[in-house]
Amino acid sequence: MDALDPLLIARWQFGITTVYHFWMVPLTLGLGPIVAVMQMMWHRTGNERYYRMVKFWGKLYLINFIMGVATGLVQEFQFGLAWSEYSRFVGDVFGAPLAMEALLAFFVESTFLGLWIFGWNKLPKAIHLACLWIAVAGSVVSAYFIIVANSWMQHPVGVDLVNGRPVMADVVAVFTNNTAISAFTHAIFGSLGVGGAFLLGIAWYQLWQRRRDGIDAVGPDKRVIVGEASGIPGRDKADHGVWLMSLRIGAVVAMVAFAGVAISGDAQGKLMFEQQPLKMAAAEGACHNGTSFSVLSVGKLGSKNCDDVTPVIEIPGLLSFLAHGDFTTDIQGINQLIPQYQEKYGTTLPDDPKYGARAGETIDYLPVMEVTYWGFRLMIGFGGVAAFAAFVALWLTRRGTVPRPRWLMQLAVVGILAPFAANSAGWIFTEMGRQPFVVAPNPSGVDGVFMFTAAAVSPGVSFGEILFSVVSLTLIYAVLMVFELRLLVRYVRGGVASAIPELDKRDHPDESDDGPRPDDVLAFAY
């Protein structure tokens, strides 16, 4: 196709906006339950440490939350904006989970989060905590709805084909799609991994800062000696416990999350071998039938020609184990699968006006192998590295503080990015691996329920319009990312006192910090 192709640029737009949105979302999903548990612990124990943790991590949670909300609006609109043929084709079944997400999850999430933010000292304590739990539950439920919608594109179930369009026949089947259940579990654990690494990296920085400033020291028994610095806002003795506890919670959550990600990912992989065999073969660079898992393959993965791909390191039997749980079943390779796809779904795009100039083009069933092969490995690699680092971090901090070297602190902070990268790589892999379909065919489902991406774009919308939107959205997203990071950094550097200004006693040494505020003063204000 020519360079001014609306399809290609519309795909870039969807990719950019979705990957960006899914930087905010996993942090929201991962941090939310952690903050809620902290507040629950505060109520149960009355320990000031938990109160500070709720305030500090809650603040960062909110700075990030709003960006997820703002970028999520684009997602709700862009199916109709740029993908009207897709919306017409799938609307009968795909629109329902989106509408339910808004009605049953977004309302809950936003309303109860508003109650939580402004409800400090206003609502009874138990109800205030319940508001946070309800808001967090809303986020989790919203993840379920949107993954039901996405999973239907990966594995359409619960529909009949009426007049060439899928029509919902069984809502229970749509909502209990095994693809959705495994993908949801995978995404939730992936998000907890993001939350865990976020806590770990920032808490490490705080403990390191306390050591660097000479507040905490290490005694002859190598155990921490906790001190305080009255001249620095919030750096009292309790402050140390806030960060050590946060670090440990973060590390444990990150490790548990990785275990969950591995188990759910295994289940998901087994389903994918059945449901989208070509995607998994492309993730493997597996050209021929076989049983070996490729640890490293080299050659021109992007050449779309399997003969250019050379496996360098392979583990015999592992691929069969991943797909079927044994070591001997042959897994079909790309060269065997493509003829099957061509036989079932055609060799050329049909002569239909919705394909425009593309009608009659040869269909390339092989996803971009560089993306699927490396996306799959980066996802697993970044996830594994983060979990291993969390384990090491627990060990290094066993005596109550972090080691002195600056590079370790920098590593812990940069390590925050690893689970984010794993999440992005996973989604890019699974979405790009679905190509050339936007709705992948279900091998055991109703015939004819599938759609090529080439037919999905809005016919009336021009290249120029989408170019304008993709450029403006990308620029604005980039600017907002700078603002979000600047604020996060400022609040992190401010420590707990950035979220609880009363801790800064330098100006008002007499001010008591635990006396209740008068009822008519807002506990929180924009």
Partner: protein, 343 residues
Amino acid sequence: MDLLPTLWFAIIAVLWTGYLFLEGFDLGVGMHLLFSTRNENQRRVMLNAIGPVWDGNEVWLVTAAGATFAAFPIWYASLFSALYLPLIFVLLGLIFRAVAIEYRGKGKSMRWARGWDIALGLGSLVTAFGIGAALALTTTGLPINANGDRVGGAFAWFSGYALIGGLAVVGFALVHAAAFLALKTDGDVRHAANAFARRVAPIALLPLLIWMVSLQVTRGTALTWTIAVVAVVAAVWASIANRNRQEGWSFIGFGVFLAASIASIFIASYPVVLPSTIDHAFDLTVSNASSSPYTLGVMSVVACFGIPLVLAYQGWTYWVFRKRVSGSHIPEARPVEPAVRRS
């Protein structure tokens, strides 16, 4: 009679009414921030009046869009793709607005806060205008072909109705926000809001009136004319209440004006959801644009349970935060400083 599609047409009208009523004052408050006569304390009073509720109010828009997708995918696809550029601007406006509300108070300088105020004000203005234009055009028509696709290029949607609809929502939001601030704040902001509503209402509500009446002239029935009269009476009543300092009644009156206007517009449009200005044979109607009876049935069950629940807990939120916000309530802003030893 298509019972379920008609029910869903009504539900979508209700969702839009809910959105315009609730986010109407949020958007209006955003626009009021552009008036530079207010000082920082007053601006924070205004923001905190909508603080706990604005995000929940915005979900009405997401739900209206999602419900249109679920119940009338053909309408959703045609309307959104035809209005590609205006809706992109709505999205950009909404993004700036949301981020501005959350971030404006977290900076170090007045320049930071003022910068976000402008983002918030312009974002609100663009959003209100774009939503108004889109709603007006779905009632008055777009150049769509037999497949529902826009013909005539990126700006083919533009017409006088886009302008009237855009101004209708901008004008209503300004007045409604003034009535809201009069009801929810105290002190200078309250007095300024009362005066604003009194001065501006007669002009600002005019575009919505024009949109409503022009639709009655072409497609009105006895019922819709009656509702239109109710709308006008409510607006007059709201203005009188405003002069008598009955702030609650004034706010409700402007709300009834909105709800009745939208009702008369949607009922007059029925059963057409998106007319084609090329050929009425291409009109999208509740029957040819809707989902299957099964999907509509499932969604009806969800809505019957979901919408009352939303109304209940959002209502409770307004009850919890029912007190007026005044300047003395606003805590002093404290800059965030690094918790490190300065060497």
